[in-house]
């Protein structure tokens, strides 16, 4: 592998490529500089042509001169032959200062001599004025009648555009050379170059689109006027306003997590451990909110309980004394939206508790209640902790609901947004979202690495078909009533949105109308189209990428694997607000200028949805017998072929659900996207928000309903595409 001959060839080739690379880019650079200099010269000449010949007019002319930013002019009055008599006029003091300091220098004398003969002169080196590099050109001002030089212009041109461009060229030159070295090196000196390229590409993606923006955001919070400072943090951590927001977020999280887990457990227990008709219906109702777009529940809560709400104003007329805006309303909306997370986690756990265990307890003469308390409940405690932490994280990171419903109640995600968009203080926004990261990341890590390890579920094994009824009649009646109440509430919330589409002016005029539809759809047409396009582009990329990442994480050994896993998973734990802020920070300057383009939104989608796809892929791949891929490789298939002919068909279920998940999540994104949209690329959810902020509830309802329809359609399509054939899943497992 590392034979001497190969290494020598590699070094020689690298050397030649380096020279070639250097030569090409140097030529490009010189060419570019020459062109710019010529442009500047022409520019200078035209300025000189317009300059007055009479010294008395100079001041006036200079004052009125329109120049590009960074460029300035100094008029040296008098014939350049008599250097002693010269004096200068300029609007730029620094330039005057610079001229007075250097006017006796040999190069200036040369320049003046050229001017005397009517020739331009460019200083060979660029000069630093005002902390910026400038190019200096001397241009004679000649009297057209006598062909005599009556003055000289000293024009300083800003070199920043040139420098920016040459910097970019340098970056390209280095990138191309390193690309060559990497490709050649891995191609010649490693066994499996394709996988290695893939690993490098993934690392580059993580580096540029995850690590770099987050680093930029963190860095910004420690900078004050370009140097290190803790001022910002001192301000944030001592000001009541921000600490209040932190506590507000945490308090909301605590209450929502507790309520959601309670309701989730209620549903999960009823559906998995009770004989009950309509289980499927309750399961669907308890999962539905998870895919419902942001703002939809908030919107209907406002329609029902807001200042002009149907219930609070029209039915009870208590809207003056009770306000839905604030903690109470947030808890209701978040609980309705997030208890499905708890439900899904807990029903998974409860389902896998073997009924035999309960039978054993009953057989030992425990009562039903004792059995529940001593067997079922303890076994589900890891699940309860896990779902509580999951909801807690989700609640803290939630942005859409508080944005519309927080009122005077302060939460960090919205405060961060306000700092950025309202006060244009990116550093405050970044710091606040970092502050938010502390509790979310803690809860996330706890859930991941502590609670999950305590789970008993894997020990107890497969779900059993048999069920032992643990509830007596009154308890059962109570549980069912509770479920029905929650379900009815949920249905009425969704019903309200649909009703909102057909009402003229909610809160004032409840007459039926169809007018909302054409108006909302024509005003939202572009946003709908943008959202669909962006999601449609992001989805396949995220899908394939996540399967590739899952594949190399599960099947390949390489240095830095742990780092890669962590890098990919970071966007899972980081609130969207933080990602949004760090993206506008990182990508609004060259070399990667993306702000305002579609690509920044697409990349953001991909990066944010990658973790879920990767997790799904990993789960499936870990179940798969490695011998299947090894057999394919043994028979001569390369990595690309294995991926295409073996892996993709086998992980199709995970792949398809990852696709639909990414699509739906992209369609319904708010927290990060709201920072990244532009006039060219708008997002439906933001438009819904704008409509509701302007009290155009009818339009908001129509767009929400449209979004819900799209989301449901996608999930329906996914169900159709998923193979019902479980023969497959049975045989690929070890």
């Amino acid at each position: 592998m590392f034979s001497k001959k190969k290494i020598i060839i590699f070094i020689i080739l690298a050397f030649f490529v380096l020279i070639l690379d250097f030569w090409i880019f140097n030529t490009l650079k010189t060419d570019f500089i020459k062109t710019v200099e010529e442009m500047y010269e022409t520019n200078a000449q035209s300025i000189a042509d317009g300059a007055p010949r009479n010294p008395e007019d100079v001041q006036n002319w200079i004052n009125n001169l329109q120049l590009q930013e960074g460029n300035s002019v100094l008029y040296i009055v008098g014939s350049p032959f008599s250097v002693k008599d010269l004096y200068s006029i300029s609007e730029n003091e620094r330039l005057t200062e610079y001229f007075n300091k250097n006017k006796e220098s040999p190069e200036f004398l040369d320049a003046m001599e050229s001017s005397a003969y009517g020739e331009k002169y460019i200083l060979s080196d660029s000069v630093k004025i005002d902390n910026n590099k400038k190019m200096i050109i001397f241009v004679p001002v000649t009297d057209p009648e006598w062909w005599e030089t009556v003055g000289t212009l000293l024009i300083s041109f800003d070199q920043k555009p040139i420098n920016d461009f040459t910097d970019l060229l340098n970056v390209f030159a280095i990138a191309i050379f390193s690309l060559f070295v990497i490709v050649y090196f891995f191609g010649k000196f490693t066994r499996d170059p394709v996988t290695n390229y893939l690993i490098i590409i993934i690392f580059v993606i993580i580096g540029i689109f995850i690590a770099f923006p987050l680093y930029q955001a963190v860095k910004l919070t420690f900078l004050e006027n370009g140097s290190f400072s803790l001022d910002l943090w001192v301000k944030i951590l001592t000001k009541g306003q921000y600490l209040e927001a932190l506590w507000g977020s945490v308090k909301l999280g605590l209450i929502t997590a507790t309520c959601s887990t309670l309701i989730g457990y209620l549903f999960a227990f009823s559906v998995t451990r009770m004989r009950l008709k309509g289980k499927k219906f309750f399961s669907i109702m308890a999962t539905l909110p998870i895919i419902s777009p942001p703002f939809s529940l908030t919107l209907s809560i406002i329609l029902l309980f807001g200042n002009n709400g149907l219930i609070t104003k029209q039915l009870l007329n208590i809207s003056d004394s009770i306000s839905i805006y604030g903690l109470g309303g947030l808890v209701v909306v978040q609980t309705m939206g997030m208890f499905p997370i708890a439900f899904l986690t807990l029903s998974g756990v409860l389902e896998s508790i073997d009924s035999t265990l309960e039978d054993a307890a009953l057989n030992l003469r425990a009562s039903k209640w004792q059995t529940f308390r001593t067997v079922t409940l303890p076994l589900s405690i890891p699940g309860i902790a896990s779902s509580w932490l999951l909801v807690f994280t989700t609640s803290l990171a939630d942005f859409a609901n508080p944005l519309m419903l927080a009122g005077k109640y302060k939460v960090l995600s919205v405060e961060a947004y306000m700092e950025v968009t309202g006060l244009n203080r990116l550093n405050y926004g970044a710091a606040l979202s970092l502050l938010l990261l502390v509790p979310t990341a803690t809860a996330f890590l706890l859930q991941r690495y502590w609670v999950n390890k305590k789970s008993y579920v894997t020990i107890t094994g497969k779900p059993s078909a048999r069920l032992t009824e643990l509830t007596n009649k009154p308890t059962k009646a109570f549980l069912i009533t509770a479920m029905v109440l929650v379900t009815v509430f949920l249905i009425s919330l969704y019903g309200t949105i649909i009703a909102g589409c057909f009402v003229k002016n909610w809160g004032i005029d409840y007459s039926f109308t169809l007018e909302n539809w054409p108006e909302a759809l024509s005003r939202g047409k572009d946003a709908i189209f943008d959202t669909l396009t962006l999601a449609a582009i992001a989805t396949p990329i995220a899908g394939i990428l996540s399967m590739l990442v899952a594949f190399i994480v599960v099947r390949k050994k390489f240095i830095g694997k742990r780092l890669l896993e962590i890098g990919v998973m970071i966007p899972f734990a980081v609130p969207g607000t933080m990602i949004g802020i760090s993206y506008i920070l990182a990508f609004n300057t060259p070399p990667i200028l993306l702000v305002g383009t579609a690509s920044i939104i697409i990349i953001n989608y991909i990066v944010r949805e990658l973790p879920v796809g990767v997790e799904g892929g990993i789960a499936v791949l870990k179940q798969m017998d490695p011998a299947i891929e090894e057999a394919a490789q043994d028979l001569g298939a390369g990595p690309g072929r294995i991926f295409r002919t073996i892996l993709l068909p086998l992980i199709r279920p995970a792949f398809i659900s990852s696709l639909s998940y990414t699509f739906v999540r992209s369609m319904t994104a708010v927290s990060a996207v709201i920072f990244l949209i532009s006039a060219n690329w708008y997002h439906m959810t933001v438009l819904i928000y704008n409509f509701s902020e302007n009290l155009r509830f009818g339009l908001a309802s129509v767009l929400s309903t449209t979004l819900i329809i799209i989301v449901l359609a996608v999930f329906g399509l996914m169900r159709l595409l998923l193979p019902k054939n479980d023969l497959l899943t049975k045989t690929i497992t070890k």
Binding site: R191, A627, G636
Partner: protein, 364 residues
């Protein structure tokens, strides 16, 4: 089918794994050299963790040796990727592609080699005939029995006409009866094609019944190389003796070694033994390896060891008689129980060691 079988040579192969948890180095294969001749079936036999599967996977290309070189014929293949090698493997778990039919599974390797479709079909039919699955080509593998799946895996490996066939415990997932059948089947096909084959197993019966030669491995090293009978009758070490069959050892004093015959004393009973005598020259003590069939039960007072019959296990063609002695419990095998005498449980007997099928080892 024509197979271009080639010899396989492993030169000073070492494989060191880094344990992912403790970060310590584990020497899985320790400087072994093997030559397998063209057309030969060689078994790597050993307890789990002895490095046999790692060795096989290095030949297949799934693992890279830390040191050493591997050749197929004259070509070095040490660093080649599995898909660049002319080897084909039959996996312990078969690794059949569940989303393809039997015929698609078998034809996969040919498709990759860009063989025209009609030729693939022809060859697939041929090879399915050879393994006796002619009419199951359209089934998905999940609808086959374990033995049939095994045959598909074998057919899929053979169809690409590899220079070397690698088999990684291919029969361990089958029940006993099927295993016996498949053993014969594999041997038949291997011989009829004359293909070089390396077979990994921990089952000594499998190894002995299949192999031209057996390589016994222990703790990453080669313990012995030889034909099945060599290894059974003349094991190189007590480990090999114990691994290849049931073995009982008796401590003896070595009195003298003359003309290739050792005179040893078990307690005060004299035994003259040839096998292993030379190697023990100069040692004062040693151990005699016996097999159940080299222990003969005789009337009290006429053998070398005294004991009591604990219980007899009747197996039809033989009886296993378990005897309690001062050396511990041991088992003597009595062939033809209808003819030979069986001693009742509780009865005192003597045991006579037959030196012709025993071997002397020097104490370590």
């Amino acid at each position: 089918m024509a197979v271009n079988s080639l010899p396989v040579t492993l030169k000073n192969i070492t494989k060191i794994f880094i344990d992912p948890h403790s970060k310590s180095r584990v020497v899985a294969v320790d400087d072994i050299s093997i030559r397998i001749n063209a057309g030969e079936l060689v078994t790597l036999l050993g307890p789990s963790g002895c490095g046999k599967t790692t060795t096989l996977r290095m030949v297949a290309g799934f693992e890279l040796p830390t040191k050493g070189k591997i050749f197929v014929g004259d070509n070095e293949i040490t660093m080649l990727l599995p898909n660049q090698r002319d080897t084909a493997m039959v996996f312990q778990s078969y690794g059949l592609f569940p989303h393809m039919t039997v015929a698609q599974n078998v034809g996969y390797g040919l498709k990759i080699r860009k063989i025209p479709k009609n030729q693939i079909n022809k060859k697939v039919n041929e090879i399915l005939d050879l393994v006796g699955l002619s009419d199951l080509g359209d089934r998905p593998p999940a609808r086959l029995s374990g033995g049939q799946q095994q045959r598909v895996a074998l057919a899929r490996a053979l169809i690409v006409e590899p220079s070397v066939l690698l088999l990684d415990e291919p029969l361990s997932n089958l029940d006993a009866l099927l295993r016996e059948q498949m053993r014969i089947e594999i041997r038949r096909i291997q011989k009829s094609l004359g293909i070089t084959a390396i077979y990994v197993t921990h089952d000594r019966i499998e190894a002995m019944s299949l192999s031209d030669r057996i390589i016994v491995m222990n703790k990453g090293k080669i313990a012995q190389v030889g034909s099945p009978s060599e290894i059974y009758i003349n094991p190189a070490s007590e480990f090999v003796a114990g691994f290849i069959g049931k073995a009982t050892f008796f401590p003896v004093k070595i009195d003298s070694v003359e003309l290739g015959v050792a005179r040893v004393f078990l307690d005060d009973k004299e035994i003259r033994i040839k096998r292993g005598a030379k190697e023990t020259e100069g040692s004062e003590t040693g151990r005699i390896l016996t097999r159940p069939e080299s222990l003969k039960l005789v009337e009290k007072g006429t053998g070398q060891i005294t004991g009591t019959v604990k219980y007899n296990v009747y197996l039809g063609n033989t009886v296993e008689s378990y005897i309690q002695t001062k050396f511990g419990e041991l088992m003597a095998q009595i062939d033809n129980p209808a003819i030979n005498k069986i001693y009742d449980e509780g009865k005192q007997v003597d045991i006579e060691i037959k030196p012709e099928i025993s071997k002397l080892f020097a104490s370590e």
